[in-house]
Amino acid sequence: MNSLKTMTHPKANTVRRLRHGSHLPVGAPLRRNRRRLQLTRWIGLGVFGFWILVALFGPLLAPHPMGAFVSDQIFGGMSAAYPLGTDYMGRDMLSRILTGARYTVGLALVAACLASLIGAGFGMLSVLLPRWLEEGVRRVFDTLISIPSKMMALVMVSAFGASIPLLITATVLSYAPGAFRIAHSLATNLATMEYVQVAHTRGEGRLYIAAREIFPNMIQSVLTDMGMRFVFIVLLLSGMSFLGLGVQPPAADLGSLVRENISGLSQGAVAVIAPALAIGTLTIGANLLIDSLSTSRATQKE
């Protein structure tokens, strides 16, 4: 985190250097639980990778079309024919989850990527822009961040209808400002680093400095941040599905699967538990992955 502290004066990082100097080269904060770290990373990677695969190939594997009414039994339990039971209208839950995961994972992934791309892009470039322009960009993102994400989504969906591009736009508008903030502070720090100044004295252009000197050093933080954003977006999307603003029928993301079957909760229907578990494993998996990545990065840095 210390890289986040703003450093303006060229000598401001002296303290940090000395602090590092006081550490033993081998005695620097080490984590004894490296093996555990590895384990959580593999679990995280496994779970997250699983959902990516489901998103990619799930619809191909689905035994029934997503919207097919296959059974007369409503909220049917697990059976050989319907491994995850049937939903509130007698559709095959397994097929619906396999298909629905694509929406959740795909939407969240696209939105997270776009949010990070826009946020980090502006965050990085604004450092190199003239002061007034930088200030303007910051003001715009500050404005966006102060509007609650669900309200933003609500107004936008009311205005333009709940299409997939709009959902992505709304979530990106909600989450890009956060990414911008982090990227901006990272880039502000990196821009004062001596190697950036070296590049300046070499006469390099702004774009080169941004792309080749600054960006490679913030990519990991940006990726970590993107992972967090992914998790938030999954949850925001399922919240929006609850409010009827999310992915629209007959398509259904995991959140709307939980939502539309929630009346089966009182009877403990698989139809509601299965998609809820799916969301849970997806977000926990992503979190574990991010956690292990960011800690191992911290370790490497020492």
Binding site: L18, L24, P25, G27, L30, R32, E194, Y195, R202, G203
Partner: protein
């Protein structure tokens, strides 16, 4: 409490790096100290000296473990104490003075609060007497305004004063043993003398047993009775300080000694061509907002004049905050001067980067203090060296490859390092890459900003040698910025002494350093510890203070 004896036997400390096997970092260390004696642990970074010192408190840092041996303080076996008893020992019978007081003081609590915390915690005395005693110690340590300095917060007190406050904190409980971990490394030389004097006097008065950790033999010579020379966690040599200084038996000790006193390298240089390369006239530089007269609020340099001929080397010396680095940054175009002119090779140099020509960019290179920060950690060495070749000379792939190999040979690095990233190199290697990158531009002038100060003495000496060789081979001129007079003395033809942003003295190295005219220069030179015991006692400051109170 008087100092107690300290006997250490067969100390073994192991570390477990992430994912790695447990390995020994300190092995079979033993020494014994009589009450009131001071032992110096000396060695390069990574030699395990701090780790050993911390073991005296029964403490090992995260990832490390004290695997065996005994530390006997008086009658107490430190390593076999229970956690509670260990806590009772720390800050009471054994006290620790950290390298950087600025980092080791909690920024959010007042100094007095922190100074007396241990005493109150261990119920050595009540708050009032602790305060009184602390004020007494402040006075003994020659801190200004001893009555009220304790009410301040760490950021309101200078580094040297903080270091002394920390000493007061350590000594408040009259510990039997004090660990001083490089207590003056972060300080300017002039401040260092004051702090060393204060430490020495107070410790002698109290008869404190102490362990003094340092990489600087000259400092150790002033403070220690015994020396333990470490390398790679193993003892190289142990003995009385005088013996070690005069009759070093071990080769490593000898190289340490040699590095502490670098030989003059500048004399072997060819005489300069005389053509002025860089001419600076009446240069003013500052930070902050401009006021009505166009003057910045925080003016760092005032009225600097300087002429550097091609192939020559000028040293700029001064303590931190004197404006040395700002001068280099102004020449490099990183900060625009508010006044004055800079001419390079006869043409005025545009004040900022924007107006400069690619050729000017090429001909002036800057080597930053810390290669850690100056080398982009994301790039490989090949890329770091290749980029200037690309931008300045537009070389094609094969030519670049050839030139990079040349550069590596020039800075005496094996080409096997080319694919590594800076994080995988040692400090000296990094600094060499840093220099190689400057050389890639075939520059006429290299601005060296404290290039050796972050390095260990031996490594730093090697870099100095390299710089001297390069100058000889390539005829490049240096503006060599340093706080260390001996490095300037070793490398430079001329020297400029900066004090509070003004040049107080300028002249050839011999003249200025051998016969300084300005008071500050004299003080600066006089503050560099000499490699002989007793130098400190005869320092003018010690004489001025008279007999200790």
């Amino acid at each position: 409490m008087q100092g107690e004896s300290l006997i250490v036997r067969d100390l073994e400390i192991v570390a477990t790096p992430d994912g790695g096997e447990e390995r020994s970092i300190v092995s079979r260390i033993g020494f014994s100290l009589a009450p009131g004696e001071v032992l110096a642990l000396i060695g390069e970074s990574g030699s395990g000296k701090t780790t050993i010192a911390l073991a005296m408190l029964g403490y090992a840092r995260r990832g490390c473990r004290i695997a065996g041996g005994s530390v006997r303080l008086g009658e107490t076996e430190v390593l076999s104490l229970s956690p509670v008893a260990t806590r009772a020992l720390r800050g009471h019978r054994v006290a620790y003075i950290a390298q950087s007081a600025a980092a080791a003081f909690n920024p959010s609590r007042s100094l007095m609060d922190q100074v007396i915390e241990a005493a109150l915690l261990h119920q050595v005395m009540d708050r009032r007497s602790a305060r009184d005693k602390a004020i007494g110690l402040f006075r003994d340590l020659a801190l200004p305004d001893p009555e009220h300095i304790g009410e301040r917060y760490p950021h309101q007190v200078s580094g040297g004063q903080l270091q002394r406050v920390m000493a007061a904190m350590a000594l408040l409980t009259d510990p039997a043993l004090v660990i001083l971990d490089e207590p003056t490394t972060a300080l300017d030389v002039t401040t260092q003398v004051e702090v060393l004097l204060a430490f020495k006097r107070v410790m002698r008065e109290r008869g404190t047993t102490a362990i003094y950790v340092s990489h600087d033999l000259a400092v150790v010579a002033q403070m220690a009775d015994q020396v333990l020379v470490l390398n790679g966690g193993c003892e190289q040599e142990q003995g009385r300080i005088e013996e070690i200084l005069e009759r070093p038996r071990h080769a490593y000790t000898r190289s340490l000694l040699a590095a502490t006193r670098p030989v003059r390298l500048a004399d072997s240089m060819p005489v300069a061509t005389g053509q002025p390369l860089l001419e600076i006239a009446q240069l003013d530089v500052g930070y902050g907002k401009l006021n009505r007269d166009g003057e910045p609020s925080d003016k760092v340099l005032r009225g600097i004049d300087l002429t550097l001929s091609a192939g020559r080397s000028i040293g700029v010396i001064g303590e931190s905050g004197s404006g040395k680095s700002t001068l280099a940054r102004a020449i490099a175009g990183l900060i625009a001067p508010c006044h004055g002119s800079v001419q390079f090779d006869g043409t005025p140099l545009p004040p900022t980067l924007r107006g400069r020509t690619p050729d000017q960019f090429r001909r002036i290179q800057m080597a930053f203090q810390s290669a850690d920060n100056a080398l982009n950690p994301a790039h490989s060495v090949r890329r770091l060296l290749g980029r200037p070749l690309e931008t300045y000379f537009h070389l094609d792939r094969a030519e670049r490859r050839r030139r990079i190999d040349e550069l590596m040979a020039l800075v005496k690095l094996p080409t096997s390092l080319l694919e590594r990233k800076p994080g995988e190199l040692s400090g000296g290697q990094k600094q060499r890459v840093n220099l190689a990158r400057c050389l890639a531009a075939k520059p006429d002038l290299i601005l060296c900003d404290e290039v050796t100060s972050a390095l260990d003495t031996v490594v730093g000496a090697a870099i100095l040698e390299l710089l001297a060789e390069l100058r000889q081979e390539l005829g490049v001129a240096y503006l060599f910025i340093s706080h260390d007079i001996s490095t300037v003395r070793a490398l430079c033809d001329d020297v400029m002494v900066l004090y509070h942003g003004e040049c107080v003295e300028f002249g050839s190295c011999e003249t200025v350093l051998e016969a300084p005219r300005h008071d500050y220069t004299r003080k600066l030179i006089g503050s560099v510890p000499e490699l002989r015991p007793g130098w400190l006692e005869h320092h003018p400051l010690a004489m001025a203070e008279g007999t200790p109170a």
